[in-house]
């Protein structure tokens, strides 16, 4: 046992040693320790350097509020994690931890020079300094800031661990397993309510569990003993789920809460066995009881940040819970009664302790008890300075003036090896405010406490501002009874002995004889914001607390201001001469403590990140070495390289084959909507720009769909299968949105229409065969069918049979070639495809992908919605006036087509572009200009599709250009980084303007 381990406790098993490394040195602790308690038991206080000045910093607290003791753990492994609080991580065999933010080492840190130049690094330093000269930014300032910024190192490899999500519902959720949470859980579970209790530590009991002295008794037992029995009973209740090592991350509206359960973080790496590391609980609770407790406040005085300066209650917890004393020559500096508990505990164990109290006197029982034990108390005194480089070794104190605004008399120096500080308590109202709750300011102890108007949750215990044992128990019991509508409980008649009083002298910034400018009175320890910085911000005109926060970075460190916010507010209020309650607080945002990315994404990683949709022909594409592209959620073949062909060569070959003989495309991904009902034709009339009533059964028609603003939304071919039955196709990416839009209009604007919509995208697989030989191939597949143009003309459909399986044959064309599409039930998709390939063998049928499809369409000037359009193109802009019915009274978007803006003649319009050098291929997205001499050069359009056409043996492009319609034959310029490309505006149809090939 190390000399600092002075006490045997139930929570730490001193028979089981655990070895660990810190900064490369080996130490021992025990099972039940945290990294922080184990370090303290070895006398290690210095654990890090501060962010800005690189001042030595030590462990300050024992919980999630810890600003200093943040470590990198298991460095150089895949499991490394930065910014882990030593106070929260449970010790395990083989744990390797190291300090952050220091180089080359925590004991000798070169950045420490910042401490000496600190007068030159005031608040807003970065904003003020790195402004000029401009040339310094890229080469000097940015690399410098990047090198010195940031805490810890991110892992460089993928996270090897598993994370989980779990959805739960309950009647009552209780957050926090301290005394009030335990009382609330027991009442809820015993009254037949499905209850969940979550606690972030590994055991229940909060700070009551290590309270074992005469000053605090419940029913004549030590409060710690009483709570032990309560916990034992609690564990027997059927209705209650207790989740320890589970911290609440977020409290959203309608009692939807997120909690993170640590499952294997406390286990040695070799015992984790690839199990789940963390589980994110998504909880919907009928009622929520918040019992998150309170955080002790530090005090703000000169040099209040040395290693060895700790929160008083944490010193007590290390002693009574972990059995570790933080020093043998302790000083406690307080403004309230609660620090006397620490003094009594230390004294009872025979450890030296003296008190410095800024109050003039206190007559509470606990203070009397300390005095009886012989604790020396310096009343009406304040610390004005501290000493000790890597650990505190002494302090200087002075008396306070009558009003507390100044110091009087002489300094006296007291030696110490630990200074425990206590500035009173701050209720943890984070959960209450995250849920949308408001706060009230309580003057008597300068705290913000919950204002409970919303009745979906209550706050109990010290997070509600009840700090004394009897009020915690009695108020919790009363509030929970009322909230859960319970008439009586076992806590109704309970006898409580309490020895503290709510008696505090609050001074936010303690006075000093040294001028304010020379004091380093830290408020935010991690971000190195001092009282001086806050006052400077106020002098520079920042008034809002949110602005001061961002300017000084107070409260913006990884502890999110848990220790600093109240002092910042208090000092702002004092300096500005306003009441603190009127300032309000900064916004408490989730997560309460940091979440790992792993727990946020859960199992949605890799292939499960998003849905992957594959056609039934997918396997064939893989076997034939297709390269895929993502289209929405679909995997579509992009091109099919032969041997080591690249994209360009493959596409040239595929495009040529499709026009010279035959090509085949997997078109299964196109959206398909089955439309039925007596008003189906009328419905199509209203949603497409063209007319549908006269379309004969068995015929197909291309349709263009607009938004109500007149802009092109989607396109596709719709086939009339029967009198009241249509099959609509949509773009691959637009399918879901088109269905939603159609449903919206049907339900909300035209409920009188008898129309039923069903998505059948996944029901049918589609093989699209094009090229001059496609008719011959179809003839082989359907030998009984008459494919003559008269019997089976372009834009018509017929039913067919392959063996005994029904299919639909549509003679429609994506590419401008003679072309057929066969739709078959998806389960037969692959065999259909293989049959087509087999039948097409003698014609060298060539499978082609999306890239070739785009090229073939561009040759014909066929638009691709989403590539050649971008939500600002009307059909008129696309030169597709022919598809807009003049006769129809109304359709979606019609009225917008003659708004003053849509009829402007200088809108961007779709045109073709030909490069003067036919081998020059334009870049898609490239800007187009007409006049380079006038500066700034006006950009009049951009390239939307661009290819080298193997069928025309030249480069072609589609583009949108202002007033493009009138520019045919005009010369324009496409300026690129190192040259200007000369182009000529052309018709957007490059190939087969007469549409002869469709009937070839």
């Amino acid at each position: 046992m190390t000399k600092y381990r002075v006490n045997k406790t139930k929570q730490v098993d001193q028979t089981k040693t655990v070895s660990f490394d810190f900064d490369g040195k080996s130490y021992y602790g025990f099972e039940g320790d945290t990294l922080a308690s184990a370090l303290l038991s070895n006398g290690v206080h210095l654990v890090g350097r501060s962010f800005k000045y690189h001042r030595p910093r030590g462990i300050m607290s024992c919980g999630s509020e810890e600003p200093n003791a943040i470590c990198q753990i298991n460095e150089d492994t895949d499991l490394t994690e930065p910014n882990v609080r030593a106070t929260e991580i449970e010790l395990y065999e083989g744990l390797k931890a190291s300090s952050q933010n220091c180089w080359p080492s925590v004991n000798f840190d070169i950045g420490g020079i910042n401490n000496f130049i600190s007068p030159f690094i005031p608040a807003g330093f970065y904003y003020k300094t790195f402004m000029w000269p401009k040339s310094f930014w890229k080469k000097i300032y940015e690399p410098l800031i990047r090198w010195s910024a940031g805490l810890g190192k991110s892992p460089t490899k993928p996270d090897p661990e598993l994370y989980d999500h779990k959805h739960v519902h309950c009647d009552v959720l209780i957050i926090g397993g301290g005394i009030s949470g335990i009382i609330a859980s027991k009442i809820a579970a015993k009254n037949n309510l499905k209850t969940i209790l979550i606690e972030d530590k590994n055991i229940l009991g909060g700070s009551t569990i290590f309270q074992k002295n005469e000053n605090y008794k419940i029913n004549d037992k030590y409060s710690g003993g009483w709570i032990d029995e309560e916990i034992a009973e609690l564990k027997k209740l059927d209705n209650l789920t207790i989740k320890t090592r589970t911290s609440l991350a977020a409290y959203h509206s309608y009692n939807y809460l997120l909690a993170k359960e640590n499952i294997s973080d406390h286990l040695p790496l070799d015992k984790r066995n690839g199990g789940i590391r963390q589980r994110l609980w998504k909880i919907r609770a009928d009622k929520v009881i918040v019992a998150t407790g309170a955080i002790e406040r530090p005090l703000v005085f000169n040099n209040n940040d040395r290693p060895g300066i700790m929160l008083s209650n944490s010193v007590k917890k290390y002693l009574d819970f972990y059995g570790v004393t933080c020093g043998f020559n302790n000083l406690i500096f307080t403004n309230n009664d609660s620090a006397y508990e620490t003094a009594v505990s230390l004294k009872e164990k025979g450890i030296s302790v003296e008190m410095i109290d800024i109050r003039k006197k206190s007559n509470s029982k606990i203070v009397k008890n300390a005095e009886q034990l012989g604790v020396k108390i310096y009343w009406n005194s304040t610390v004005v300075n501290t000493f000790g480089l890597r650990k505190i070794n002494s302090v200087e104190i002075m008396n306070l003036s009558e009003d507390g605004s100044n110091v009087v008399g002489d300094k006296s120096r007291i030696n110490c090896d630990c200074l425990a500080i206590s500035g009173g308590w701050t209720p943890m109202v984070h959960m209450h405010t995250q849920s949308g709750g408001k706060l009230d300011f309580r003057e008597i102890d300068q705290t913000f406490i919950p204002n409970e108007i919303d009745k979906n949750h209550i706050n109990v215990g010290s997070c509600n501002g009840d700090f004394e044992l009897e009020e915690i128990i009695n108020n919790t019991n009363k509030k929970v009874k009322n909230f859960l509508k319970v008439s009586e409980t076992e806590f109704d008649n309970i006898s409580v002995l309490n020895s503290k009083e709510l008696n505090k002298r609050n001074i936010w910034l303690l006075p000093n004889f040294i001028s304010e400018g020379k004091c380093k009175s830290f408020i935010d320890f991690q971000n190195d914001s001092t009282a001086k910085d806050i006052k400077l911000a106020l002098r520079e005109g920042f008034k809002s607390i949110e602005h001061v926060k961002r300017y000084t970075t107070t409260g913006m460190a990884t502890d999110q201001g848990k220790l600093s916010n109240m002092h910042a507010l208090g000092i702002i209020a004092d300096t500005a001469g306003v009441k603190m309650g009127t300032l309000g607080t900064t916004t408490f945002r989730p997560p309460f403590t940091p979440l790992t990315f792993g727990s946020i994404v859960g199992r949605s990683v890799g292939n499960f990140f998003d849905i992957i949709r594959k056609t039934s022909i997918h396997e064939w594409h893989i076997q034939n070495k297709a390269k895929f592209e993502n289209v929405g959620q679909w995997k579509r073949p992009w091109y099919y390289p032969i041997n080591d062909e690249g994209l360009h060569d493959a596409v040239q070959r595929e495009s040529k084959a499709a026009r010279d003989s035959a090509g085949i495309l997997d078109a299964s991904t196109l959206g398909k909507i089955d439309i039925q009902g007596t008003d189906a034709s009328e419905f199509l009339n209203r949603v497409y720009t063209n007319a549908w009533s006269k379309l004969e059964i068995g015929k197909c028609r291309y349709g263009l769909m607009l938004n109500e603003d007149g802009m092109v939304y989607d396109d596709g071919v719709t086939t009339r299968l029967g009198e009241n039955h249509y099959l609509m196709t949509t773009t691959t990416g637009g399918a879901a949105n088109v269905l939603s839009k159609l449903e919206d209009y049907l339900q909300t604007e035209w409920p009188e229409l008898d129309v039923y919509l069903t998505s059948v995208t996944d029901h049918y697989s589609t093989a699209s065969i094009c090229g001059p030989n496609s008719k011959k191939i179809l003839k082989k597949i359907f030998p009984d069918k008459d494919f003559n143009d008269d019997a089976f003309p372009h834009m018509s459909y017929q039913n067919g049979k392959i063996d005994e399986t029904n299919c639909r044959i549509m003679r429609i064309s994506f590419t401008g070639e003679l072309s057929y599409e066969i739709n078959i039930e998806s389960k037969y998709g692959k065999s259909l495809w293989e049959k087509c390939i087999e039948a097409g063998k003698e014609f060298k049928i060539t499978p082609y992908g999306t890239e070739t499809m785009h090229l073939l369409r561009a040759e014909k000037g066929f638009i691709i919605v989403g590539q050649d359009t971008d939500g600002t193109m009307t059909p008129i802009d696309l030169q597709m006036d022919w598809i807009v019915s003049k006769k129809k009274y109304d359709f979606i978007g019609k009225r917008s087509l003659y708004r003053s803006d849509t009829i402007r003649e200088d809108r961007k319009q779709l045109v073709g572009l030909l490069t003067d050098d036919p081998n020059e291929i334009l870049e898609e997205g490239a800007q187009i200009v007409s006049d380079m001499s006038k500066k700034p050069v006006e950009m009049i359009g951009h390239v939307t599709s661009s290819y080298f056409s193997p069928n025309l043996n030249k480069s072609i492009a589609l583009a949108v250009v202002k007033s493009g319609k009138k520019m045919n034959g005009q010369k324009l310029i496409v300026p690129m980084e190192n040259k200007n490309i000369n182009v000529t505006v052309s018709d957007s149809v490059f190939l087969d303007k007469e549409n002869k090939r469709i009937n070839a």
Binding site: H252, S253, Y254, N255, Y256, R284, G436, E708, D709, S740, E743, D744, Q747, T748, E749, P751, Y889, D890, K894, R895, S896, R899, S900
Partner: protein, 91 residues
Amino acid sequence: MFLINCPYCGERDQSEFSCGGEAHIVRPKQPTELSDDQWAEYLFMRKNIKGVQFERWNHTHGCRKWFNMIRDTSNDKIHAVYKMNEKPPVE
């Protein structure tokens, strides 16, 4: 994350729904007879109130029905949900 009481399915998590903006904006029956300004009023002008707002919601990952909701945008309190063809309940 709201808990929304779909008028067809009952209480469901907000993640099943999508919001379709302001409710009770009726598509004009005779758009061709409207001036540009009148059409723009229908097409573009939407209220964004801090307070009680009437909204359209769709149970996208459920029954796919549209319905109306009265919601206070300042505290996300849902005052009522009602079907498309129903009149808003009197407050």
